[in-house]
Symmetry: D2
Subunit: 338 residues, 4 copies
């Protein structure tokens, strides 16, 4: 059960509600976010809703049978709109294309990339500054100093930044320089990191763990939400399976599933999802038709010289064509479902 | 190495070529299909192609490094066109929609379904008459008598039939009543069945094994081709993995991969691929954008009363909308890539 | 529900029982095997057992909630004993070691192998005569003539044969020359083959499909049993997953699971299960401790020259040590559980 | 390439070696651990080893073709011995049994458990104080105060503690109260955590990620080692796959593989590996025979009332029998391989 509380619900009223639902056999957990106040009630009780329905301080009561409560569509049927700064919104009604290199490699690269994105109408740039690498001897990113340069150029050009945070201590360091915190697939169940990102008032793009079930994926989002941050974007990026002909298995089934079960926007990352440059475009277009609210795509001026993920990065000529096709596909989808 | 032989290559000339390639360290296997004659040469030799290039009886020589030779695009760059009877062609240039119930249940059903398909411009009907069921106590299909009725009505209405064959002894029984033999996912590596279907001059729609790698999938197609039948359609239908939120994991990555590696047409079966009725449409449209040459979709007049697979079957109202959307998507794709 | 019928239950009595259980909402399926008569009743009814409990012709009634009925341990608590000819029994009380080459390659090989097995006290020989190969150009086995020679030598030396049958038409051909029919992993859900093997009075060793769930595995065994053959041996041989450091993932969890859920004996095939020669011994011993009733192991006089599966075959020196260790482990296990 | 440096190698000598290997095309990374100094040289160069072989400061040079260098057995053929305090050693020659509850629930529980372990000769206790839970509303452990109590009782009784650390900030908090830091499956690729554990002089028990390949698993260990800590224990705990009849698929193939590829000790966790209480014993014994150097097993005085993982915990009577059997199996294994 999920109880929406009135904004002005007093501590005393909250106490009374907690006492009442506890007496009904529930374990209540109060949640306060940037947008509202909730009481999550875990338990298997079935009862006459009138016993709490008319208590002071309650805005609405929802029976939410799903394991994850706050991210469920059972209580919030309209898709969530996520503001990014003052001038960007991510949601089902505002398709978002995020592009950029796997790793930020240099200031020159940032400048060139921003030029490309601006002239192609792309307003969200991705780029790693802390890189999770399976070998300890690989390049681990430019770090916080790189981020500051990255950020300065983006701000000056009206471009938003999404970049991966890998540990709790990086959150305050990065906070003023990012627009969206990204949680990578290897940290999808790093609950301490999720807890802390729930205390920040910036959007979080949460990648699905490479072997996370969708229930686990939504539970990870619930961690963030229940700590106070409703601004969450889910991102399917390919799962692990027996087929090794490509880097991952892009599980597009997840898109209609997540859109139905949750009110959160759902992105697709075809670059990691297939991992082979020539297949990124068809898989991105497939993602759009499956219902994605946004795409995250790796591009690089010279993929063959990229420090990481060159095999799956589009070059700039490919990226231009790609952007046009994606926008056409989004428009086609809107017309089809009109 | 794959040697295309001239149609009029004499037995004597073939002998000489075999002797020559054997002396070069290859193991040669002659193949004769409805369309051509080939000599498949297995071996790791590298040699000066002039030593065989000018022999009598040879049309062309191709180095095919892929494990599967005849189905590879390394020797045949143009997509294969597969005639179905006199008046239908399956290929990259002729998108095909096949629809129908999981199981043929009755003559009434066949008549009703044909009426629906005709009025919606669908010319290929699917429908099981021998059903592979995981429990021996489940309905196993109407069998050959059902097929005869099914076939009579389809012929009378210009509808083609694709239906599953489960064992070698059914091939001659079914031959005169089907237009396309379907091999189901559980028989994807039933090599005896594949061998025998290679001796038939009817198209074979080969479903990917639920745990077949794409290399194994192409090898299964190679079995059919090397026995003499070039008319093969590959069909991605979902693979098995850890996620059990849906019936299978539709692996759309396979579509651009197979289109690139093979000259055979590639279908997608979103019904089995996701297994949940509400998600069939987005996954079908995603399949189109991934590059599919056709779709196989389960529909039923009353899905809630279907003997099998009701959960994943569209009803007729849904199916009408679906057909229109799929055709729109195919047109959109053509325009996008023009 | 599973009803054991009396051997002398008359047709009239059976009719009456069928009428009665049908009226209770069950769908009954009569089964006759070499050992007994059964009525499998599928349905969700709950009823007062007295309404059928005292009918003529009934030996016993069991509520079997498992999806697979006849192979379930819910009605038959004692492990099944499977006679192989007059002088061998396979069961939990008679550990069985089956060894031999992947493919039978020649008469000389058979003679040498039999010599080895006899002098090491191994009484069951494995060896493929029809080989399922993923490439159509690979060696496909010596075929039925090879089997006759193989069989003649084994008979003359008191060695039993287990070998793979790949299609229905091979069953009568092979029948007189094999002691145990093996169903390979690729045919684990070839239901027509399973049906026909249910009509034979020889044991069937059923390998788990490489992506079969255990429920599907037991359902495949149920196919054989429900067609009349109770002599079934289950064999875990490795499943498919994301780890490609070895050929398959030997799922030893399946052993205690299958032993608990079913009354059938359970074998382990460590050769395919790990696919790397050096790891076969530890995995075989692990299989014994997990509870296996037998092992199937590939050996070869000169693995490096084997036509197939040389990488996973023990040579004869290794095999001698291996046999001794396995017997020690079986004795240790007995002592431990005494 | 891995260069072992002399303990007294001067900074100047190190500089010269680095210059020399860099000029040969390698990227060198110096590593200093509690036991030695190394220079890891990444690159594909092949060269005449004499060009560096006689330089000052070098103890030995090893060509290590494996992706992970320091944890590889290619340079260190003898199994690593890991001291735990003054009076315990973990290694291939000292089989280790670690037992205890999933979560530490109370001081009473700790006292009772220690009593049980002491009287059964078990010297390593496991028990979670920070619990990673997929729902944010589940019990998350007693935290650091619980650890202090836990630790005090263990110290007083000569019992060592292994418990999970979930984030970098917990390392200094926990340091004085644990004997072995455990890294859980969800943090197996939390590289920041691994880096920091590399700077601590306490053993780290590293669980395999539920979808980590063995190459990724060894790379995670390499992170710890390359940061300075050689005291690493690998632990196979089950992987994720299509079979959901048990919690995980215990991949015992990993045991002989890891023992061959690495010099680190390998543990098995059958409790998580199968997740069903009745199967824990056979799978533990299987793990011993596969070659495990230790086991980690969940036990609980009243599993049916455990806060977490009760389904897979042995009760104390079962645990007593279990301990005896495991010791018998270890002795049997030693005799078998003597």
């Amino acid at each position: 059960m999920l109880i929406q509380l009135l904004e002005n619900c007093s501590e005393e009223e909250l106490e009374q509600i907690i006492t009442q639902v506890s007496s009904l056999g529930y374990k209540p957990a109060p949640v306060k976010t940037q947008y509202g106040r909730y009481l999550i009630c875990i338990g298997k009780a079935e009862f006459d809703i009138r016993t709490i329905g008319n208590m002071q301080g309650i805005r609405d009561i929802h029976i939410v049978a799903d394991q994850s409560k706050l991210v469920s569509r059972l209580w919030k049927v309209h898709p969530t709109e996520i503001p990014v700064g003052d001038d960007m919104v991510i949601s089902g009604n505002h398709f978002t294309l995020g592009m950029g290199p796997c790793s930020i490699e240099s200031e020159e690269q940032v400048i060139q990339m921003i030029g490309f994105l601006k002239s192609n109408g792309v307003r969200l740039m991705r780029g790693g500054i802390f890189k999770p690498r399976s070998s300890p001897y690989s390049f681990r990113g430019l770090g916080i100093d790189g981020l500051k340069i990255f950020s300065a150029h983006c701000r000056a050009n009206g471009i938003k930044i999404v970049t991966e945070v890998m540990q709790v201590s990086q959150i305050p360091e990065m906070h003023d320089y990012v627009d969206i915190f990204q949680v990578g697939t290897r940290n999808a169940q790093n609950y301490n990191l999720l807890d802390e990102l729930g205390k920040v008032d910036k959007p979080v793009l949460l990648k699905r763990g490479m072997s996370s079930t969708l229930q686990e994926f939504l539970a990870s989002a619930e961690y963030i939400f229940s700590n106070g941050n409703e601004k969450i974007i889910l991102c399917e990026r390919g799962i692990r399976g027996f087929e090794h002909a490509y880097r991952n298995i892009l599980d597009l089934n997840a898109v209609p599933y997540l859109k139905e079960k949750s009110h959160l926007p759902v992105f697709v990352d075809p670059s990691h999802g297939v991992g082979i440059r020539r297949y990124v475009e068809p898989m991105a277009l497939a993602g759009v038709m499956a219902g994605a609210d946004g795409l995250l795509v790796e591009i690089h001026a010279t993929p063959e010289r990229a420090i990481s993920d060159g095999d799956q990065s589009l070059n700039l000529a490919e990226a231009s064509r790609f952007i046009r096709k994606v926008h056409d596909a989004v428009r086609f989808r809107e017309a089809l479902n009109a």
